[in-house]
């Protein structure tokens, strides 16, 4: 059975009052962007729901693509047919049979927009229900809590039948929550934090610090690859790579060992906040969770956050590592995150960093380095790449390999 269209029910954006129109428009844009490669697909964003007409494109692939889009609560794969009772009966029965497992209950849920149709809602419910009852062995009716709810809609332009409900990603359409930057290291946490930020409708620009030759080209490519995975949920992402070697070398040379990490983080946040401001973004997201490592204690956050008034948002702040890993597996970033390339958070780490750095001392030690000069040179050296969903960075030989294998 091949579906002809997919009906999309909006998530919580239906409740967003005046913004609703903008939200729906944005979701329409996001859906079109995601479905770009399916040339024949038509997307219509309406007040109460969004229609995706497949026009012959593969239903499974389109559904899979839609499942990643935020702002969608449920997907109803639907078959559009002629408004003819016999045809409707046949398709309703097919769907019931496809969904039926022994002992299952069902109900028919008819909505009739076309008031000229020969049968009214109740008549249709009865006729179709009786037909299914007669033809599927062992099926029972339950109108309150059915296992299978077959929806029949009689509209002006045809009859629409659906029985399956597929969960969407929920959340809000990316772009409706403003724009912010994300400090992406390449570990397990920051991609998950990015995902959660996107889920609340935020459009993300990635900031990644790299320190050649201490960090390898592979580490940079890994961050880009993670970005390309995350772009599946939001559309293209701007990837901003910031050269950090000079800053790290200077700090290593001038700052007492116990504060190496704190001062590094302060510099990172300073630079990130400045880039955020320049790009007219309104916040910096990080993957920090309380108590995971030395830099992620409350005292550390106080000492680091001191450098900016820009909102620093930490979606993972109270999450357990296990839950973070669960999400990272679910969004397919885990396997990438655990690739063993050194990133700039793991080099130059002192054997015993201060877990409770002192704010005043942090400020004092930072004066040992040329903060403004270092920042300027780092920001002058940034490189921005536009990363598309599914772009390949880690294994660029794949085509060559495909030929060999």
């Amino acid at each position: 059975m091949h579906y002809t269209e997919i009906m999309v029910r909006y998530g919580e954006l239906s409740t967003k009052g005046k913004n609703r129109k903008d939200f729906i428009k944005q979701l329409g844009r996001n859906v079109r962007a995601v479905l770009h490669r399916f040339e024949k697909v038509e997307v219509k964003a309406q007040r109460d729901r969004l229609h995706v007409a497949l026009n012959g494109e593969d239903d499974d692939q389109v559904i899979a693509a839609l499942q990643g889009v935020f702002g969608i609560e449920n997907l109803y794969p639907t078959i559009r047919i002629e408004k003819d009772l016999e045809t409707i009966k046949r398709v309703v029965l097919q769907m019931a049979q496809a969904q039926f497992t022994p002992g299952a209950t069902f109900k028919i849920n008819t909505r009739r927009q076309d008031k000229h149709f020969a049968y009214d809602t109740n008549q249709l419910n009865n006729l179709l229900g009786a037909y299914v009852l007669e033809n599927v062995d062992g099926i029972k009716v339950d109108v309150k809590h059915p296992d299978i709810a077959i929806r029949v809609e009689i509209r002006m332009n045809g009859a629409f039948i659906s029985a399956e409900t597929i969960h969407g990603a929920g959340g809000l359409p990316v772009g409706t929550g403003g724009r912010a930057t994300m400090m992406l290291s390449g570990g397990i946490d920051s991609p998950v934090a990015t995902y959660l930020a996107m889920k609340r409708g935020v459009k993300i620009d990635m900031i990644h610090f790299y320190s050649p030759p201490y960090t390898s080209e592979q580490a940079l490519n890994k961050a880009k690859q993670l970005t390309s995975v995350l772009a599946k949920y939001s559309g293209n992402i701007q990837f901003i790579q910031v050269p950090f070697t000079e800053v790290q070398e200077t700090i290593k040379e001038k700052v007492p060992e116990g504060y190496l990490m704190t001062i590094q983080r302060r510099m990172m946040l300073r630079i990130a906040a400045e880039i955020t401001k320049q790009r007219h973004c309104s916040g910096v997201f990080t993957g920090e969770a309380l108590g995971q490592v030395a830099s992620q204690t409350l005292e550390s956050m106080l000492a680091i956050n001191d450098v900016t008034t820009m909102p620093v948002l930490r979606p993972l702040v109270s999450m357990d590592k296990e839950d973070i890993i669960k999400i990272s597996k679910q969004i397919k970033t885990f396997d990438l995150s655990i690739l063993p390339f050194e990133d700039c958070c793991t080099i130059f780490t002192p054997p015993s960093p201060k877990t409770r750095p002192d704010l005043e001392k942090s400020r004092k030690f930072e004066n040992y380095i040329d903060v403004a000069g270092l920042m300027k040179r780092a920001i002058d050296g940034i490189k921005i790449t536009d990363i598309k969903a599914g772009e390949e960075f880690l294994n660029q030989d794949q085509d060559v390999f495909a030929e060999l294998l």
């Binding site: 880690l394 030989d397 060999l404 294998l405």
Partner: protein, 381 residues
């Protein structure tokens, strides 16, 4: 030339050799090296692994590369013995295994392990009831071949797996060297088989290649210690040209399998139908789904197997006595012996083993030559 000895080895395909050569020429870095060039080799290694895993519907991290079937069998058997020696020293296998299994078992026996060899029926098949009766609290390993290399019997792997679900601690190893591309992958890879050994040159890959499947969560001790390759389970710089070539060969062999199996069955049937008419011919293999499609073992009473092989060889037809690996040292077949075939018949046995390159026309030529030779043999005896 008619090559009917595909269970001994197969021809490395030109497109497989092409991969071998290109990788040797261009991607010759060491997958363990840190630099880009080594990294590229590492990616190819992992992509080869993934391709094999995908084709067999298992996880990438369940594939370990080896040098061939013999190594695979040795590794799983001795690796289990080493890893599980605290839990017991009893191992069960069959009396019709390939020498790689049998002789590994014998070596363990000398080291103080107890080996139970399961008997077989007159088709070379073990019974699951015998297996059940043989299991003891100190049993650590059950090793059963998927397809008998001498007469083609498919062993009851699925039923054994069902039984072993009640004994979750025992490792279950399957020697599937004769079992790839023969339409029985579903039978081999079920949720109770823990290890499976394969050999590359049996499916058109170069010599010195092979791999084992090792289910997630099952541990065996490594036999090759060193630089930590293959997740520290099988050290030694990876044979990347061979591995990539093998990944390609598997893809090709599985693509061809459905039609190849059909042709092999036809060829086998044609030959069986023909030679079964002769008084002195004894056929040991069947052509139904209890036997692999590609192996046909038969004897011409009163003529030594070796004589038959050499007689066919004059017509550029290559067949074998029962197992090429041991055929030079023994006249008798281990499998036929275990089946209690009388000695004089067993020494007259030969094996035809087919591959995806064989055709029905070749079978027709074969039976013509067979007629001629049979008459000559008849006169002599």
């Amino acid at each position: 030339m008619i090559y009917f000895d595909n269970s001994a080895t197969t021809q490395a395909l030109p497109e497989v050799l092409d991969t071998y050569n290109k990788v040797s020429e261009k991607i010759w870095g060491n997958p363990s090296s840190l630099h880009n060039f080594g990294e590229q080799a590492f990616h190819l290694l992992e992509q080869s692994r993934k391709q094999i895993a995908d084709l067999l519907h298992v996880h990438s991290d369940e594939i370990y590369f080896t040098s061939g079937g013999t190594e695979g069998d040795n590794w799983v058997i001795k690796g289990t013995a080493l890893a599980k020696r605290e839990f017991g020293k009893h191992i069960i296998t069959t009396s019709v295994e390939h020498a790689a299994v049998h002789n590994s078992m014998e070596q363990l026996r000398q080291l103080g392990y107890e080996i139970t060899y399961l008997p077989v029926d007159n088709e070379g098949r073990i019974s699951v009831a015998d297996l059940k009766a043989a299991i003891r609290p100190d049993t650590i390993l059950v090793s059963i071949m998927a397809v008998n290399n001498e007469i083609g019997t498919i062993e009851p792997i699925k039923e054994a797996a069902e039984l072993l679900k009640d004994y979750p601690k025992i490792h279950f190893h399957v020697d599937a060297v004769q079992g790839l591309g023969k339409g029985i992958e579903d039978l081999i890879f079920n949720d109770r088989v823990d290890f499976v050994a394969f050999s590359g040159h049996k499916f058109h890959a170069p010599r010195g290649t092979g791999f084992i499947y090792g289910r997630r969560g099952r541990r065996i001790a490594p036999l090759m210690n060193g630089g930590g390759q293959e997740k520290n389970q099988r050290s030694g710089t990876e044979n990347l040209p061979g591995i990539a070539a093998m990944a390609k060969a598997i893809r090709l062999v599985l693509e061809k399998a459905p039609t190849a199996i059909e042709t092999e069955r036809k060829i086998k049937q044609l030959i069986i139908d023909h030679i079964s008419k002769f008084d002195k011919v004894v056929i040991f293999s069947k052509n139904d789904k209890t036997f692999a499609p590609h192996i046909l073992c038969f004897a011409i009473k009163g003529v030594r197997g070796e004589t038959i092989v050499h007689a066919f060889e004059k017509y550029q037809i290559f067949i074998s006595t029962t197992s090429a690996c041991s055929s030079k040292s023994h006249d008798e077949s281990g499998t036929l012996n275990a089946m209690k075939v009388p000695e004089d018949v067993a020494t007259s046995a030969v094996r035809i083993s087919l591959g995806d390159q064989n055709t029905v026309e070749q079978a027709e030529q074969f039976v013509q030559v067979f007629d001629k030779l049979y008459q000559e043999f008849d006169k002599l005896s």
